[in-house]
C-alpha cells in the first residue's frame, strides 16, 4: 500500500474545502465579534471605577479559562436556560467572546499610547465625549494595534478545530470524518495542514507588512 495516494487525495479534497469554508466563516464572524466587543470592553475599562472593576473581572475570568471549556459551557449550559442555538453560532460566539478579552487588552495598549496632550487638547476645545473617541483617540490608537489584532485573527483561525467538540465540522472535522471512513489519514491530515499553511502564512506576511508600516515614525 502506497503511503500517498493521489487519487484518494483528489477525492477527499472537496470535503476538506467544504470544511475550510466553515473554518473561514467561524474565523471571520468570530473576528468581527472580537473586534467590536473588545473595543467596547477597552472603552468601558476606562470608565468609572465600578464599571472598570466589573469589566476587569469579566476579562480576567474569560482569559483564565480554556476556550474549549467555554465552548462546551455555552453549548451544553445555554439550552438549560432555554437558549438553543445552532452549533456554529455557539462556536462563533465562543471564539468571538474569548478573543474579545485579548483584543480588549490590545486596544487598551493602543489607547494608552495616545499621548496625554491629545486628551488635554480635546478638553481645551470642549469636544463632546463621543467625538473625543471617534475623532481623536481611536483614529490614532487603532492603526497602531492593527498588526496585533491581525495576529489574533490568525490564532483564532488555527483554533477553530476546537469546535469539533460541539459538532461543527470545520476542516479538521472533515478530516476525521473521511479518515474514519477509509482508515487513510495521511492524505487528509497532510492536505488539511497544507490548507492551513496556505492561508496562515500569507496572512502572517501581511501582518508583518502592517507592522513595518506602523513602525514608521509618525
Amino acid at each position: 500500500m502506497n503511503v500517498w495516494d493521489w487519487s484518494f487525495a483528489a477525492q477527499i479534497l472537496p470535503a476538506l474545502l467544504d470544511g475550510l469554508r466553515i473554518t473561514l466563516i467561524a474565523t471571520v464572524l468570530g473576528s468581527l465579534i472580537a473586534f467590536v466587543l473588545g473595543l467596547v470592553l477597552a472603552i468601558l475599562g476606562r470608565g468609572p471605577t465600578p464599571v472598570r472593576i466589573v469589566v476587569r473581572a469579566i476579562v480576567e475570568f474569560i482569559r483564565s479559562t480554556p476556550l474549549l471549556v467555554q465552548v462546551y459551557f455555552l453549548f451544553f449550559v445555554l439550552p438549560t436556560f432555554g437558549v438553543v442555538l445552532p452549533a456554529l453560532t455557539v462556536g462563533v460566539l465562543a471564539l468571538g467572546v474569548h478573543y474579545a478579552t485579548y483584543t480588549s487588552e490590545v486596544y487598551r495598549a493602543g489607547i494608552d499610547a495616545v499621548p496625554r496632550g491629545q486628551w488635554e487638547a480635546t478638553t481645551a476645545l470642549s469636544l463632546p465625549r463621543m467625538r473625543v473617541w471617534t475623532g481623536v483617540v481611536l483614529p490614532q490608537a487603532i492603526p497602531r494595534v492593527l498588526p496585533a489584532l491581525g495576529n489574533y485573527v490568525i490564532s483564532m483561525f488555527k483554533e477553530t478545530p476546537l469546535l469539533i467538540g460541539i459538532g461543527v465540522y470545520d476542516i479538521v472535522g472533515q478530516v476525521r470524518e473521511v479518515g474514519g471512513q477509509s482508515f487513510r489519514y495521511v492524505e487528509a491530515y497532510t492536505l488539511a495542514g497544507l490548507l492551513f499553511l496556505l492561508l496562515s502564512y500569507p496572512a502572517s506576511l501581511a501582518v508583518r507588512r502592517l507592522e513595518r508600516r506602523s513602525a514608521v515614525p509618525r
Binding site: E120, A121, T123, A124, L125, L127, G135, V136, Q140, R218
Partner: protein
C-alpha cells in the same frame, strides 16, 4: 499703570483662596488674584512653582482642592440651581470652559487630521458652526498666522514653529474670551521663537482677549504684559507692572530669579 483702570470692570478671572495638592505636595496654597477683561498677565518664576498648574486648573485639566475659580463671574466648580449654590454639572463646566482657549508647550495638534481638520473640528462640533463658515474662518485664521498655503498639510509635515502657529489658530477659532499660553515657545528651535512671539504680540494688540501666559521669555513678558506675577513655592511673591518688576523688583527672590534668567 494700564491695568488699574481695567480692573474697574468685573474681573474676567478670579482665583479665591485656591488650594492644589498633588499627594503631600502642596502646589498652590491660598492663592487669590484677579485678572481684568482684556488684561495681559504673564506668570514667571522657577519651575515647579505652580504657574502651569494655574492654567491647568482654569482649563479644568486639574481639579482644585479648595477655594473657587471663576471666569466671567461664573464659578468653575459651582453653579446656581433654583437659587441655591450646588456643585457644577458637566454642562455648566462646558459652558464656562468654552470661553477659555489654551495653547500648549507641545502643540498637541491632532496628527490624524489635516490642518483644516484641526481648525474646523471644535467650531463645527462644539459651536455648531456650519462647515462652510468654519472653513472660511479657518482660512482667515491661517492667513493671520502666516500659513495660508498649508491648510491641507498634516501637522507632521510642519515645523515646530508652524505647528504652534496652527495651534494658536485652532484656539482662536473658538473665539475665546481668555487665552492661556503654557510655555508656548519652550519646545521650539531658538530661531523659530521670535516669529511665534511676534504673532502673539500682534494678536494681543489687535484683539480684546484676556491673556494668561506662563513663559520663560522675559523679553516677551516685559513688552507683552500689563502685569507680571512672580511665583515661588505656590505663592505670588510679587505682582507688578512689567516696567516696575523688571527694573526695580522689590522682593529678594524676584531679584535673584531675574538675575539668574536675564543675565545668563
Amino acid at each position: 499703570m494700564p491695568s488699574l483702570d481695567k480692573t474697574v470692570a468685573e474681573p474676567m478671572i478670579v482665583f479665591d483662596g485656591v488650594e492644589k495638592r498633588f499627594g503631600d505636595n502642596v502646589v498652590l496654597s491660598e492663592l487669590s488674584f484677579t485678572v481684568a477683561p482684556g488684561e495681559h498677565v504673564c506668570l514667571i518664576g522657577p519651575s515647579g512653582s505652580g504657574k502651569t498648574t494655574i492654567l491647568r486648573l482654569l482649563m479644568t485639566l486639574e481639579k482644585c482642592d479648595g477655594g473657587t475659580i471663576s471666569v466671567a463671574g461664573q464659578s468653575l466648580s459651582h453653579m446656581t440651581h433654583n437659587g441655591r449654590r450646588v456643585p457644577a454639572d458637566e454642562k455648566h463646566v462646558r459652558d464656562v470652559r468654552k470661553r477659555i482657549g489654551m495653547v500648549f508647550q507641545q502643540f498637541n495638534l491632532f496628527p490624524n487630521m489635516t490642518v483644516r481638520g484641526n481648525l474646523i473640528e471644535a467650531p463645527t462640533r462644539v459651536l455648531g458652526m456650519s462647515k462652510d463658515e468654519a472653513n472660511a474662518r479657518a482660512t482667515e485664521l491661517l492667513d493671520l498666522v502666516g500659513l495660508g498655503d498649508r491648510i491641507d498639510s498634516h501637522p507632521t509635515q510642519l515645523s515646530g514653529g508652524q505647528q504652534q502657529r496652527v495651534a494658536i489658530a485652532r484656539a482662536l477659532a473658538m473665539r475665546p474670551d481668555v487665552l492661556l499660553l503654557d510655555e508656548v515657545t519652550s519646545a521650539l528651535d531658538p530661531e523659530l521663537v521670535a516669529g511665534v512671539l511676534k504673532l502673539l504680540r500682534d494678536i494681543g494688540s489687535s484683539t480684546d482677549i484676556t491673556f494668561l501666559c506662563v513663559t520663560h521669555e522675559m523679553g516677551f513678558a516685559r513688552d507683552f504684559s500689563d502685569r507680571v506675577m512672580m511665583f515661588d513655592g505656590g505663592r505670588v511673591i510679587e505682582d507688578a507692572a512689567p516696567e516696575k518688576l523688571f527694573t526695580a523688583p522689590e522682593h529678594e527672590r524676584t531679584q535673584a530669579f531675574l538675575h539668574a534668567v536675564v543675565d545668563r
